[in-house]
Symmetry: none
Amino acid sequence: MTKRQQIIDTTIQLVAEMGLYATSMGLIVKESNVAAGTIYHYFKNKEDLIKTVYSELREEMGKAFIQNIDNALPYKEKFFLIWKNLFYYFKDNPQKFQFIEHYASSPLEKNEVKEINQRHYQPAINFIQKGIEKGYLRTLPESFIIQLIFAHVSVVVRMILFDETDISVTTLQLLIQSCWDSVRIN
Amino acid sequence: MTKRQQIIDTTIQLVAEMGLYATSMGLIVKESNVAAGTIYHYFKNKEDLIKTVYSELREEMGKAFIQNIDNALPYKEKFFLIWKNLFYYFKDNPQKFQFIEHYASSPLEKNEVKEINQRHYQPAINFIQKGIEKGYLRTLPESFIIQLIFAHVSVVVRMILFDETDISVTTLQLLIQSCWDSVRIN
Amino acid sequence: MTKRQQIIDTTIQLVAEMGLYATSMGLIVKESNVAAGTIYHYFKNKEDLIKTVYSELREEMGKAFIQNIDNALPYKEKFFLIWKNLFYYFKDNPQKFQFIEHYASSPLEKNEVKEINQRHYQPAINFIQKGIEKGYLRTLPESFIIQLIFAHVSVVVRMILFDETDISVTTLQLLIQSCWDSVRIN
Amino acid sequence: MTKRQQIIDTTIQLVAEMGLYATSMGLIVKESNVAAGTIYHYFKNKEDLIKTVYSELREEMGKAFIQNIDNALPYKEKFFLIWKNLFYYFKDNPQKFQFIEHYASSPLEKNEVKEINQRHYQPAINFIQKGIEKGYLRTLPESFIIQLIFAHVSVVVRMILFDETDISVTTLQLLIQSCWDSVRIN
DNA sequence: GATGAATGAGACTTCATTCAT
DNA sequence: TATGAATGAAGTCTCATTCAT
């Protein structure tokens, strides 16, 4: 594994466990078996490191949730599949989920990166847009609907992760239905 | 106003604007017109200050959202009123909303305060419990339903606050309906 | 007990246990049931408090070690009695002993108090002086001999206090003999 | 000279002059021409710095006082030589002597370092042990005898250092004799 | 006499970052 | 590329002391 990747992996892990601010560069140095200077060889500074990691995760996530979606399927089924994709991506990568949550709620989020990462959203935006146009979804701002879905999934993931319980396929189906009911046309 | 209150008010304002970590004790000192030592007269340390502020806000919030609820009203109407109470409490106190969001996503949240503040939830838990029993709401864990509603309101509030737009009463009604649809029995 | 005495007692106890610097005024306040301002009513500042306590202890100690000395006794016997007086004063008042040790090794000792407290030494100086004149003791500076005796007793007391053992009368006699042998004429 | 050594030297000098507590890290920074962070690169914290310095001095002292002792010499002569070694080590390194005195009387001393540094005592313990076995010294606990000798030397050194007088070789011989008389078999 | 809220200088320490090797 | 010693600004907190009540 390259030094750069070691740094990124350690950063994800530490931020997930301790949060953005408790994750000092010194700690990353210690845990990643890399010298302080090396980090600054690959990243301009701490903010750049964090933002880069976030960017990469967003891209990965963006790919994950549209994966294996057959366009021929009915809209509702695609919705359910997408929800599941997102859910399992988070469930199977709890540290990445937590990193993203930490980042999203940090003051860093306020900056320009928002737009930069927007493009990873594009397929999602398109999907929602089409849902509204075709009369499957309520007439609400797309970004709002996306936030709603994202928030919904996050609540479910958080519940599972922190309660350390698992969830049956049936229950999961109920939960997705709940999300679907909040955005679909009655 | 007492020194203690000055400190608390300044803390809410600064944390709302800059986040938990960018809000240094030095900044609080400067903005609150209080000596450094005075803060430590009222609070054990920064963590204690933050947690105390959070606790007080949670209590206030707990009171706000069950306010003016006539028990004689139909369940659904009560649900809508509670949603609105919560919504307007956040909308009218944006700094308190942001403080709570910052706190909730911080590593501090992980600690014991969670339980301590649980009692402010009690009316909410009871309300949800009754809704499930009477067959108005889906059979899901109460705490999960509460999280879902909370997340839903938060998304709406965030949208309004950050987009700096306002929202018509009609739209609001639609949004509450969306939340209701995600938890009500079909 | 007067507030003043409460302060002094608490100070002795805390300094004995924790040392001069770990004994903060705040700690004295907490442990002595006295308000911060009250301490400053009786003492000019921390240094004054410590020095006053020390002065009082020195006076007490000065009285203790010449107590019950019959001038008619042989010189050597008087020496043994004085040694014992000093020893038992320390053994029976371990906190006072420790306070004195902490003070004596502190930078405060360097100041003027040394002379002020000199007068409590006077009987000791006289006793040593007479011993030299009469040919019982070696011709060395009196203050040096006093330091030697004081150091000797302190070593014994420290040993007993920290090892938490006690000591037989016979052993004690041997120890005094050791001290006596270091200053008597051969 | 390395940064680490600069820090240690400055620490010895400042503690000797001002005591353990008046020697702030800030002062060490100023006097040693080193950045604050650099101290924490070499030492975990102030306590660690002080303890490390003390440890090194104890080792140096341990080497100093058994230096040039010819085992073939008579016991008493070896005793005199050892006393002199210790005496001159302190007299020639007054700041180290004062550092050790400050440390020894501080609350830090109470901790584990005591044992760690015990091994530097080993030659001394052996020497005393042999003295008792061979009938040269009184039957008293070795550690007690060591404390006695140490206290004796310290009184002499303190006298010379603080009175700023020097001492003739004859007088010195008298003083060692006094120490010897306090521990030798009559 | 007694109280304790309020002060602010200064103590210790952390941490992102640089730079010579 | 990679290292890690060195930096110093800034953060948190303590503590002796004051003063209005």
